[in-house]
């Protein structure tokens, strides 16, 4: 389950940020990835919410600043 989720997440990040999968690691944060700006953050959230049919709460939106955090919060919701 967790593995399948990771694959989907990586796919989303790569398509939004237009980077190769080999350049993406789960310990990366918004600060590590230049293209992960506020506009792309919205795209990432929209793509994740669509892919997993979930919805993050208001307060979470700004806290989802690393792949690891996103994964953790996502697991709570599905």
């Amino acid at each position: 389950m967790s593995n399948d989720l990771e694959i989907k997440l990586i796919k989303i990040f790569c398509s939004v940020l237009e980077i190769k999968e080999s350049n993406l690691y789960f310990n990366m944060t918004m600060d590590d990835l230049e293209k992960w700006d506020s506009l792309n953050h919205m795209k990432i959230i929209a793509a994740i919410e669509e892919e997993f049919s979930i919805r993050f709460d208001d307060d979470l939106l700004e806290k989802l600043t690393s792949l690891e955090i996103i994964k953790e919060e996502l697991i709570k919701l599905i």
Partner: protein, 580 residues
């Protein structure tokens, strides 16, 4: 398109970019809210249809400055959201008194007029109506200021609407999906981004036909089955008394409504055709019934036989001289739909819904596919013209050679100049003509008007008639004059497919060249720009003795010294000028 997820769309869009060739189609989106990723979704949808689209999102809440920056785009989309009209709009709007409200309306009335004026030369403007539905849920509220502002601003929009503009009613999309599915209060609060991915996908879907129309990609022919498509029941089995054809039965009521919709499409210029596995006499019996709203004469082509539908649709395409990608096919049989989808993938296929009460809704979406910018006189005459065309084709069998046949037609072409040609028709010809079109430049009415008033351009169109009827304005040439170098450059040369095959193009260009023979101009240049559809004219300039000076895979350039020109022998055609 709508089936792809956002992540798939983003990936696909990047892939498609590298495979795009053909001219760029630039779209700008101006708005007072955040709209990303609408740009990626729109780009992807258009690139999937081979339109090399580049969509630029304007800056947040910079409508006034962006409309200036975007005045050179091929199309501009306007998202002007009432709920963010001014900062804290939702908080302040209901506290405003009459005079504050009027002041607000006046300010935005001026802004709207300013933007309209800045965008007046953009070939296509898609402008969303102001809506009071976002952030308002109470149906019994008496706080009407918001509704008042929205109505007043929409009035301004409707009153000052320019011909290049299509007004879009977003509330129709809200209703279709429900406001909670399209509006994201959370992201609006967070980033002033009001809409969901679902909304963007459907919005893009709904505006595509308008963008296709601006790219000369409109659907032109509706091919209809008969049994359970034009009436309820099977005529060959049930008989005329038992099928549902008019308002006398419940089922028939729906078909009557469909008949009206079909006739509306015909009035818009859509060509109708029948393709039905039936005995001709049976179908004729229905059409002869006085209660049946459609007449045989409403149709441009009939194929009532037991052949494969694929074969019939191919032969309709040939008879009407229209490409299969302009065809829409409607049938009640899954089997026929599947067959056509496989054999003729260019044709858009639709199945009559199982529940007949859903049929009107299907027609609404068909109407969207056939979107066109206001019908012109030629459109409503089109069915008549195509009936005349089939008479002509029959006539052509009686003659031994093509020249014999052309001789018998009694062809007459009337050349129109900048004073006598019809501007909307000239613009439409540039937008819709794909086959006989040397350069495929698309122009709006405003651009045509500019050619006419600019002394550096020479423009002529022509009307064609023969003993069977009139074809209307069916050809156009636009020449740029380089006075300093005494040279002419043919920017546009096109002819509607209705009049192909009569050598009219030869006599037309001959006439135009002769107008310049005694002028100070010494040379005339032409070019051929390859598209997916204009292969038939790739050697046109060779055929009239222009010399090819340069060519590559996609373009060919030509030159003719005017002193070297040999006029062609005038046969079987009468040419008159109508220059006043």
């Amino acid at each position: 398109m709508i089936k792809l997820t956002l992540s798939e769309i983003l990936q696909k869009n990047t892939e498609l970019l590298s495979s795009m060739n053909g001219p760029k189609y630039d779209i700008g989106i101006i708005s007072n809210v955040t709209l990303s990723p609408i740009n990626d979704i729109l780009e992807c949808a258009l690139r999937l249809e081979s339109i090399n689209a580049h969509v630029e999102l304007g800056d947040y809440d910079s409508i006034i400055s962006d409309c200036k920056n975007f005045s050179q785009k091929n199309a501009v989309i306007v998202f002007w959201e009432l709920t963010n009209l001014i900062a804290d709009f939702e908080i302040s709007i209901n506290r405003m008194n009459e005079s504050q409200l009027n002041q607000l309306i006046e300010r935005f009335e001026d802004e709207i007029k300013f933007v309209l004026n800045e965008l007046k030369d953009v070939p296509l403007v898609l402008w969303n109506k102001f809506n009071s539905s976002l952030n308002s849920y109470n149906p019994i509220s008496d706080k009407t200021n918001k509704i008042k502002v929205s109505n007043m601003l929409n009035n301004v929009l409707q009153t000052h609407k320019t011909p290049n503009m299509v007004v879009i009613d977003l509330e129709k999309i809200f209703i279709e999906h429900g406001i909670n599915k399209v509006f994201d209060a959370r992201q609006f609060h967070n980033s002033k981004a009001p809409y969901t991915t679902l909304f963007y996908k459907d919005y893009v879907n709904k505006i595509l036909p308008a963008i296709f129309a601006a790219n000369g990609k409109t659907k032109k022919v509706l091919v209809l089955d008969c049994d359970n498509t034009l009436w309820g029941g099977v005529i060959g089995e049930d008989g005329i008394d038992s099928i549902a054809i008019d308002v006398s039965t419940k089922k028939g009521e729906i078909f009557s409504y469909i008949h009206e919709k079909i006739l509306d499409l015909k009035d818009q210029g859509v060509m109708l055709a029948i393709c039905s596995k039936n005995n001709y006499q049976d179908v004729e019996e229905v059409f002869d019934n006085k209660n049946f709203a459609l007449k045989v004469s409403d149709f441009s082509a009939l194929r009532i036989n037991w052949k494969h539908k694929m074969e019939n649709i191919n032969s309709i395409a040939e008879e009407l001289n229209v490409g299969l990608d302009s065809f829409v096919f409607l049938d009640d049989s899954m089997f026929e739909i599947d067959n056509i989808k496989k054999a003729l993938p260019e044709v858009s296929c639709f199945m009559v819904p199982k529940n007949i009460s859903d049929y009107p809704k299907l027609f609404d979406s068909l109407e969207q596919l056939f979107f066109s910018f206001g019908a012109t006189k030629e459109d409503s005459n089109r069915t008549k013209m195509y009936m005349e065309e089939s008479k002509r084709k029959k006539e052509s069998l009686k003659w031994k050679s093509q020249e014999d046949y052309l001789e018998s037609l009694g062809l007459e072409i009337t050349i129109l100049n900048e004073k006598t040609l019809t501007i909307p028709r000239a613009a439409q010809l540039t937008q819709k003509t794909n086959q006989f079109n040397l350069t495929t430049q698309r122009y709006t009415e405003t651009e045509i008007q500019n050619f006419i008033s600019n002394k550096e351009f020479f423009i002529r169109s022509f009307l064609v008639k023969d003993k069977f009827g009139e074809y209307g304005e069916t050809g156009l040439i636009i020449i740029k004059k380089d006075i300093k170098n005494q040279s002419l450059d043919i920017d546009t040369l096109l002819m509607s497919c209705r009049v192909i095959g009569r050598k009219i193009e030869m006599f037309f260009i001959d006439h135009i060249i002769k107008e310049f023979i005694k002028s100070p101009f010494k040379t005339i240049q032409g070019k051929y720009i390859r598209t997916a559809k204009n292969d038939q004219v790739k050697n046109f300039y060779e055929s009239i003795n222009f010399e090819c000076t340069e060519s590559n895979e996609n373009e060919k350039y030509y030159l003719l010294e005017l002193t070297d020109y040999n006029a062609i022998e005038k046969k079987f055609i009468n040419i008159v000028e109508c220059y006043e």
